[in-house]
């Protein structure tokens, strides 16, 4: 068991070092920081001084070690575009992204699970069929298209909700939230819905598939034979056994969502770190791009590793080496 845990954690660390290496290579290949930081009149002596100060006179391996040491300490350098520290730029915008992602996950779970259960227990009924079609549409329509449609209807035509921004926000030290003000909550509705739609459909399809599988199981037949009411059979016996994959997929999806939020943030001009990244890509602002890549990958890898470890803990069969992982997207 301990060796399995160590192996998973070791894998995660290896992936992160590889990601850091990719980020490091981006700097190596694109642009000389000395040239970008000094003006054209700088003398050769000044250039050399900066080169030494940045550690660029060292060999490749030492430079990479220095790079990793800085990154671990949270030092991602200075943004080329607005000369601010990358770490503080991202920290400033992280709450907005996390709020958006968490709210849309909650929306997705609270709508997706009931609809999925309904589509499974009323399989073949007109409403269930309609739901299946809707879920297919939901996973097919790009989230930016949904966002634009929502803006067209609720902001431009009906003028009910703000089309962009985050509304009024409240500060708690370095953390900010829009959930405590009416305008902040209003501004959150459309971005959260457009980000959640894919997840709602996805969770619904997952729950339906799992429920249909479980409802065929013998213990469900036995529960019915015992004369238990449908409500108990469906919710206490069947649904509970479907929830594990749902929890797993939701956990893994949060990492994906943080990355995907950058599209939604662009549509709604939501001041999160995804929007910062898209702007950085436009200006080829390397330090911000590299930092975003590493931070989002770190979140993604951490969540996946935790999900893996929970699986090891819950399902003893996986503890034997060589047994394929259970229910995983990849």
């Amino acid at each position: 068991m301990i060796s399995m845990v160590l192996k998973r954690v070791g894998n995660a660390v290896a992936v992160m070092i590889a990601v850091a290496f990719v980020a490091f290579m981006i700097f190596q290949f694109l642009g000389d920081p000395v040239q970008l930081m000094l003006n054209e009149q700088a003398s050769q002596a000044e250039r050399d001084a900066l080169r030494i100060r940045l550690g660029l006179d060292q060999n490749f391996v030492m430079q990479f070690v220095t790079f990793i040491t800085r990154v671990v300490q949270g030092d991602f350098g200075i943004s080329y575009r607005n000369q601010q520290e990358v770490m503080s730029l991202i920290a400033e915008r992280f709450p907005a992204t996390l709020e958006l992602v968490l709210v849309s996950t909650i929306i997705a779970l609270s709508i997706g699970i009931p609809l999925g259960v309904y589509a499974a227990i009323r399989k073949g009924s007109p409403v269930a069929r309609l739901l299946t079609i809707f879920s297919m549409i939901g996973v097919s329509i790009p989230s930016f298209v949904i966002g634009i449609l929502l803006i067209l209807v609720f902001a431009v035509q009906l003028n009910w909700l703000p089309a962009f921004g985050r509304g009024e926000i409240v500060h708690f030290g370095s953390w900010t939230t829009g959930l405590l003000t009416p305008s902040g909550r209003q501004a959150l509705i459309m971005p959260a819905m457009s980000l959640a739609l894919f997840q709602i459909s996805f969770i619904m399809r997952l729950v339906t598939a799992e429920m249909l599988e479980v409802l065929r199981a013998d213990y469900i037949k036995f529960a019915r034979a015992r004369g238990l009411p449908n409500r108990l059979v469906h919710f206490r016996h069947a649904l509970r056994n479907c929830l594990m994959p749902v929890v797993t997929m939701t956990g893994m999806m949060i990492g994906d969502l943080i990355a995907f939020a950058l599209v939604t943030e662009t549509v709604f001009q939501w001041p999160g770190m995804g929007q910062l990244f898209v702007q950085a890509v436009m200006f080829i602002d390397m330090p911000v791009m590299a930092a975003y890549l590493m931070i989002v990958s770190a979140i993604f890898v951490t969540i996946n590793t935790i999900v893996d470890l929970i699986y090891l803990w819950v399902d003893p069969r996986l503890r034997q080496a060589g047994v394929a992982r259970g229910y995983h997207a990849h």
Binding site: L152, G255, L262, F300
Partner: protein, 318 residues
């Protein structure tokens, strides 16, 4: 003389026989029983045909600046007051006919979608065959690379690859290489699933006796791989390809929407939505709505078809 007469007739009956066989196959039977699959196929057929025939059907070539008239800019669709023939779905701020732009845009979107699925399939199959057959450290390294690709969000990788490739190219080449860059950035993020499927099957097949027999007969390894092992793994590969075509078209549209994909001079559907997005606050909703609708329709049809194919070829459900 005798042979010359017989050959075409023989070919005809052969053809007819093949058609009959195809018509009677399980797949065709399942297709005829699924209205969803038939509608999706029909939609895709129409979209593909209109996209291919765009130069013939479209009233203007949206890339040709001499065909754009600024006095015809921002005309609404024809059923709204102020709409003009022949601009059925209206025009954008530059006087570009929205319908023509959609037809040309679908062309680009479909082409890049197909090309990137083909590219990722080719990479995935090659890697899978090599890993499955070679085993050992080659297998280990390539599969670790695959794990690594999957352990970072794909959208992020695609954006970075696309942005960096662009940056590495000289400015005057960027626009003409945009489709290739997009193809590469989508293929780099999506070959792993093919590699995994092919590898798993290749490992099983490689141990079977017919492969051993072929080896003893000193058949070349590439030949064994391509003529004996590959056909056995094609079914799951094709299902995956159909399912990931929708994803590829979606990725292309997302990248273009974000501004790291197709340039404004050669707009794909994603680029058209990006352009339209800047103008709909001024009231020209048609510039963004129709390309968005077309994009959604294409992806939905592809996904429905992929879903049907997966179920139809799944032996467990038959």
């Amino acid at each position: 003389m005798h042979i010359d007469e017989a050959a075409p007739a023989g070919r005809m009956t052969q053809w007819r026989q093949r058609l009959n066989e195809a018509w009677d196959s399980d797949l065709a039977y399942s297709f005829r029983g699924s209205p969803m699959a038939m509608i999706s196929a029909l939609i895709l057929l129409i979209v593909a045909l209109t996209a291919i025939l765009a130069p013939v059907i479209a009233v203007q070539n949206p890339y040709d600046l001499t065909q754009l008239f600024l006095d015809k800019a921002e005309l609404p669709p024809i059923w709204v007051e102020g709409g003009e023939v022949p601009y059925l779905l209206g025009t954008d701020v530059q006087g570009r006919d929205v319908l023509s732009a959609i037809l040309y845009g679908s062309r680009i979107s479909l082409l890049i979608g197909f090309a990137s699925v083909m590219a990722s399939m080719a990479i995935g199959i090659s890697v899978g065959l090599i890993c499955g057959f070679a085993g050992g450290y080659v297998d280990n390294i390539l599969m670790r690379v695959g794990d690594f690709v999957l352990s970072i969000p794909t959208l992020l990788v695609a954006i970075l690859v696309s942005a960096l490739f662009r940056e590495l190219l000289p400015v005057n080449l960027r626009d003409s290489f945009a489709p290739l860059i997009l193809m590469a950035s989508i293929a780099i993020t999506s070959w792993v699933q093919y590699a995994r499927i092919v590898r798993a099957s290749a490992m099983v097949e490689a141990r079977k006796e017919y492969v051993l027999a072929a080896k003893i007969l000193e058949v070349r390894t590439t030949r064994i791989l391509l003529t004996h092992i590959l056909p056995n793994v094609m079914t799951p590969v094709l299902v995956t390809a159909t399912l990931s075509l929708g994803l590829a078209i979606l990725s292309e549209a997302t990248l273009s929407f974000l501004g790291v994909g197709m340039p404004v001079t050669q707009p794909s559907l994603g680029t058209l939505i990006r352009i339209g997005n800047q103008y709909f606050f001024s009231g020209s909703w048609w510039v963004v709505l129709f390309p968005a609708f077309q994009l959604g329709l294409i992806i939905l049809a592809v996904n429905l078809l992929g879903d049907w194919l997966r179920d139809a070829l799944n032996p467990k459900l038959q």
